[in-house]
């Protein structure tokens, strides 16, 4: 054993560990694309149902995403609590932040539109930071949502339908970018 073969071995191991990160399954992005495609337009067409929809769909989607991620990791043969906890904590922080912001709406400190814009801002930040720390493609979705947030100041009709449509489309497209192969 000489120093060159040791260096080769270290490089070999480094290359392998670079490839060992599992991307989340596309089913999670498609699930949220469907929820967003239904939930956002409700603000334009049935505003009274938006709250109850997201009260149920938000946590249920979060739990379903955890289950889909766990099931996919098993299917692909790589279980990692640390990796799972990293993703779960990231999105759980968003769910908690939205729930903590909800009293602003209930106490009428912000309007319905203002609360929607605040949620968009939180979403944008969470997706962008997810892109920085977890998976690069989330950054672009974060920037797109930030654009949607800015649009809320300029659009007056069907604003949530337009933003929701673009958001859902970007999520659906992201599901097929860099899709993992079955092991």
């Amino acid at each position: 054993m000489n120093i060159d073969s040791i260096r080769d071995d270290v490089s070999y191991v480094r290359e392998i560990t670079r490839a060992d990160t599992l991307r989340p399954p596309s089913s999670i992005a498609l699930l949220w694309a469907a929820l967003v495609a239904v939930g956002f337009p409700l603000a334009d067409f049935a505003p009274s149902r938006v709250g109850i929809f997201w009260m149920i769909a938000g946590p249920a989607g979060f739990l379903a995403s955890c289950a889909l991620g766990w099931w996919d990791a098993r299917r692909r043969g790589q279980m990692s609590r640390r990796e799972g906890a990293k993703w779960t904590m990231h999105w759980l922080a968003l769910v908690v932040a939205i729930f903590l912001a909800a009293p602003l709406l209930q106490t009428k400190q912000v309007t319905g539109k203002g609360f929607g814009a605040l949620v968009l801002l939180l979403l944008s930040l969470t997706y962008f930071l997810g892109g920085v720390h977890l998976e690069g493609k989330l950054r672009w979705i974060g920037l797109l949502i930030a654009g949607g947030y800015v649009a809320t100041f300029f659009l007056s009709t069907y604003v949530w339908t337009i933003i929701g449509g673009v958001f859902a489309l970007s999520l659906a497209l992201s599901a097929f970018v860099g899709e993992p192969k079955r092991a």
């Binding site: 054993m1 000489n2 120093i3 073969s5 040791i6 260096r7 080769d8 071995d9 270290v10 070999y12 191991v13 392998i16 560990t17 490839a19 060992d20 098993r74 299917r75 692909r76 043969g77 790589q78 279980m79 990692s80 609590r81 640390r82 990796e83 092991a183």
Partner: protein, 106 residues
């Protein structure tokens, strides 16, 4: 340094982890709770025979544990790192680091 198999045995190195595939297996298992045989095959691009032999060597040494289960009626073998393997990997990595540091400072 004493010679072995045409090369030098280096202080602190673990004999089992001098093999790059076995080292990679232990490093991967230190980063994840459990990895299946097929996932190892995908990551390491080794043949079934060679991979199986390296995994068995580590298993026999008590470095890793194996657990079988059935998925869609097909057997799946999951491997995980045992505390003996983790300790050996840490000691081996420290020895590697010391050696590479020493060479870097020459």
């Amino acid at each position: 340094m004493p010679e072995r198999d045409g090369g030098a045995v280096i202080d602190g190195f673990d004999r089992l982890l001098e093999h790059r595939v076995r080292l990679a297996i232990c490093v991967l298992l230190s980063r994840h709770d459990a990895i299946s045989f097929s996932r190892f095959k995908e990551l390491l691009s080794e043949t079934d025979g060679n991979l199986g032999a390296q995994l068995r060597t580590l298993e026999d040494a008590g470095y890793i544990g194996a657990r079988k289960e059935f998925r869609e009626r097909k057997p799946v073998t999951w491997y995980s790192l045992r505390s003996k393997g983790r300790k050996a990997l840490i000691a081996h990595a420290e020895a590697l680091q010391d050696l590479l540091d020493a060479v870097g400072h020459e």
